[in-house]
Symmetry: C2
Subunit: 429 residues, 2 copies
């Protein structure tokens, strides 16, 4: 029965029963974590088998005619650029291969922009009175953390099924040169699992920006992270699209193998215009002796080409799919009939975005925590950690085992119901 | 015969003969590189054998009771900290393990100091009117490049056999709070190959600095890079020494395996105080998802402990020693009798520091280049690329094969003689 149709007495009774269930669950002293988008050990074991017998040491000279065991080849080995070019439908010469963390590439880019600006900046961003960034939300907490770290004001842009609200984006950038950029997770967005539609991409590529040094931070974190091989979200190469509209330098595209090979031991890439690459390399040559080329080779040997990556991802999806289904099925069964929340059913990525009744998210997460289930903190998916509706909860079903996940989601649904009933009974504001 | 005892006629004759030799060498169309401190392929082959059969994938849970294939363990795996602690005679808990480039750790530290300062700063360094750094010189060009990049004024401090001129250092830091730090390569310094004496370390650890946020950038790049197993320069742990003088936070120690395992595919470390580590981690947690833990494990398996590293370095030294000896022997034979230059005979590191007659370095390097031998650019070992005496030349004998090196040094000695004669004949200023 839908909660909204219940009488107060029915709600009170429901609450009593939920409290009994909740106390039961608490007495199990669970210790489960659905908070971060981490691969599980089954995925890592599959990948480990691929990497185990690779010899990237005996032969170290390939297409670049250069011993990759030594210093040099600053922007990465050609074979790794070709692999990412194939995956991103781009050109190898538009690519710099980075280290084990694309987040690090993004941070470094911000750091450079703050200290020096880019080739289109009037002055370093830190010398501007104010710098603002558009943050489609809910979004990725680590993106927002970078903005906060550098004292960049964040403007929340609603995230729709087809991407950020483009009317708002266009309006925000048109006449205001303090708006210097936008964060985008264009495929299987974190946490909603939405993928930008072609029209959204086009509007982003062609829109007028007052700030000449405006940049799109295109964090394509889940670009081949499909759950189903027959239903995939795929997008155009954003750099090509920007070039079509003569905004060549507008986008920094980022990608990595963190959730393809190993989180923390993968390789990353920036795909961007010639002029941006020059600007980045001018800093990189001061900053580092270059990134790990042996690990680049290791990945090239492991996956060979786009097909190799896609096939590997299909194996990982076999592990991930049941986990998403456990969550979705349980929500469908337990929560849907009550009509008290909604959630997305993504085709890929690492998250299920759950929207509780307004004002209930914090309480749900608190109740879960008390029962031993850690969720992403309330508000984490919004700038400054503040969800104006206190509604969104990012569920990360990938890390626990299927069995643990079943237990965790059992706790979650009880907490959702309980928090909602409490809210409805007016016991929380 | 010493050049200074020659008559003008003798010098003119010498020059004519040298020009004939030089033209002969030029006609060989050599293409040799003695410019950078790069390992040679024989060294890399030795290391490749060690790394080739390591399996760091099947078993991934060790002392930290944590799957190192996944996200997490932000400051690095315990075993890698223990390895560096043993090598640096320090404590694992004082160590953060970094990525493949200690230069990158140093750059990031500067970047953080510029943007935010450290825990002892009144304000971010970029908000100070002026920031100055002490640069013992000749020194490492990439250190100076970082200062230039961040607009930090460099103060040249003469480098003596026992370390930087400490009277000048103490005087510079005592009353001037714009002096925020000093670059140090304490063992087998780049390029002189000098190692700081105990008294130098002590004075650095205990000196009074006006700037509370003063820091020593202790780039211990060659800490186990001995050429001889019976004659080694070894120094005390600088952090321990600073602690003795209650200047716990004074030093950031850096080290890496770039020239132990693979340049670009090694691991790095920062060893510093608890409070500095906290300050660094506060930034790192925004900046990155952590460094490559699988590569850390790979190095731990490869070398096991200090002994393993030392034995490996002895094997590499067998390759390097003959190269240093080719250069030193040729200089002894060809240049010493002429009394026109001096050079160091280091016990380790990657360089031989050559001091030509004043005003000759640029000309020598130019002549070498025309004859197909690339040396480190003149002045590169001084702040702003300006050697006030135009005398120092950094010879990097490690990369060429023995045979190439013999040819390169043959060219070098002819160019040294020729440039000196020309200078003496007053043809150059």
């Amino acid at each position: 029965m839908k909660y909204c149709l219940m009488t107060k007495e029915q709600l009170v009774k429901e609450k009593e029963q939920l409290l009994i269930s909740y106390d039961n669950l608490k007495s199990k002293h669970l210790k489960l974590d659905m908070s971060r988008g981490k691969p599980n050990s089954d995925q890592l074991d599959i990948t480990a088998k691929v990497f185990k017998n690779i010899d990237c040491y005996s032969k170290r000279i390939y297409k670049d005619n250069f011993d990759i065991g030594n210093y040099g080849l600053f922007s990465g080995i050609t074979e790794a650029k070709e692999l990412f070019a194939e995956l991103l439908d781009g050109n190898p010469e538009d690519i710099i291969i980075g280290g084990n963390s694309s987040l690090n590439l993004m941070y470094d880019m911000f750091s450079q922009l703050m200290m020096s600006g880019n080739q289109d900046s009037v002055r370093p961003w830190c010398k501007e009175e104010k710098i603002r960034f558009l943050c489609p939300s809910p979004g990725y907490d680590r993106h927002f953390a970078i903005c906060e770290h550098f004292n960049i004001e964040m403007i929340t842009i609603p995230m729709n099924e087809d991407g950020p609200d483009m009317d708002m984006v266009e309006a925000a950038v048109k006449d205001d040169d303090t708006v210097k950029g936008i964060w985008c997770v264009p495929v299987y967005s974190n946490p909603d699992g939405y993928s930008y539609k072609a029209t959204t991409l086009e509007r982003l590529a062609k829109m007028q920006t007052k700030a000449k040094d405006f940049r799109i931070f295109w964090d394509n974190a889940y670009f081949v992270h499909h759950l189903y091989s027959d239903k995939k979200d795929e997008i155009e190469n954003m750099l090509s699209l920007c070039r079509q509209y003569h905004n060549d330098d507008r986008v920094y595209m980022f990608a990595s193998t963190s959730k393809i090979s190993f989180p923390g031991a993968g390789i990353s890439a920036i795909c961007t215009s010639k002029s941006n690459i020059q600007n980045i390399m001018d800093r990189m040559k001061i900053q580092t002796i270059g990134y790990d080329k042996i690990n680049m080779l290791r990945h090239v040997i492991a996956f060979k080409d786009r097909d190799g990556v896609i096939k590997h991802m299909e194996k990982l999806a076999e592990v991930l799919r049941p986990k998403f289904e456990i969550v979705i099925n349980t929500l469908d069964k337990e929560i849907k009939p009550l009509d008290i929340a909604r959630w997305n059913t993504p085709l890929g990525g690492y998250f299920i975005s759950f929207y509780a009744m307004e004002g209930c998210a914090k309480k749900i997460i608190e109740l879960c925590k008390e029962a031993g289930v850690v969720l992403t903190s309330a508000g984490a998916t919004y700038p400054y950690g503040k969800d104006p509706s206190d509604s969104n909860i990012r569920l990360a079903p990938t890390y626990p085992s299927d069995n643990e996940l079943e237990q965790a989601i059992e706790v979650f649904v009880v907490c959702v119901k309980l928090a909602t009933v409490i809210k409805m009974l007016g016991e929380i504001k």
